[in-house]
Symmetry: C2
Subunit: 191 residues, 2 copies
């Protein structure tokens, strides 16, 4: 998506190593009109997949997921990383390892809100090693539901997540695919 | 807002004591079309306030804030409750005490994204004791910006938050105002 690449070039910041900071429009400050256009793009890319529900993880996945849900007229469920006082139902749980923080989180989704008829679309802001997506795929498997696709705002194609998802035969769409962040410069995939 | 009261009656669950669970459409699963209508309502209520930015707290505030930002065509900033690896800027910090969890959280907002010209609207899902709103008001004060209003999806009017905000002369709008949850029954304010 050209407009997203342009936005990343203009507003993104490459931090030391392989970290791209997009706090200006996606992760901390949210450019609502721009994210609406990302939602439109996801809705179009997955329009034939008969999506019934969108699954994401708090917090940065919520805005792009909600914008997509708005276009597809389906609900969004965000998996919780932190315990909720009112989330006392039976839960699906999966373990998500964060390479950057070197910590392991349990993510949870209430069993009540997904059933075996659902065809879910997984949406997240970033795809690097794929740990969050694999946590959500694990939950989808426990719930015995079909994953109709995975939609990612920014894929770091030089990390293994994207390849691992495609190996499983899952329909993956990433709106921007980053080939390299070397030398503090963002280079996008061209194919 | 009658449609919201109806939704709470139909889908809300009163847990022991003073806890109302609305995980079915607001806090865990998000009814995107319905939340869009809440955003329209907030936008109308605050249309004369010349809002330039919306401030909320992760995670449950994000969806209603983003829906409102979409209508007012302004960005949303969500304060973080948890440390972010990429949020390395100079930060505004405030302390938020959670009565339900009996823990104290630091919430943070990057200094970069608010300036003294801003007129912010604070949006949150619930208002009970008002701790989260007062944390955001503290940050607004540090940033020397004007708070044009506070928009709340569900106010628990039997707890002191709403009165404390109004005492400060702040324009508060709550879409549903709950008088009591006694006996497991939701009773709304009628005035």
């Amino acid at each position: 998506m050209k407009a997203l690449e342009e936005k990343i070039r203009q507003e993104g910041q490459v931090l030391s190593g392989d970290v791209l900071k997009v706090d200006q429009f996606l992760n901390h400050q949210i450019d609502t009109d721009f994210l609406f256009s990302l939602g439109q793009e996801f809705a179009q890319l997955f329009q034939d997949e008969k999506i019934t529900k969108i699954l994401t993880v708090e917090s940065s996945g919520i805005a792009p997921a909600v914008m997509t849900g708005l276009q597809l007229h389906v609900p969004v469920i965000f998996a919780r990383k932190h315990q909720s006082l009112t989330l006392t139902d039976d839960l699906y749980e999966a373990s998500v390892y964060s390479f950057t923080k070197q910590t392991k989180n349990q993510i949870t989704v209430s069993r009540k809100y997904i059933d075996s008829e659902d065809r879910v679309l997984i949406i997240d802001d970033f795809l690097a090693n794929g740990q969050a997506v694999f946590g959500l795929l694990d939950i989808a498997e426990q719930a015995n539901i079909e994953v109709a696709g995975v939609g990612i705002v920014i894929e770091k194609s030089f990390q293994p997540g994207a390849a691992k998802i495609k190996e499983k035969g899952i329909h993956l769409e990433s709106l921007a695919r980053i080939k390299s962040l070397e030398g503090g410069k963002v280079e996008f995939m061209t194919d």
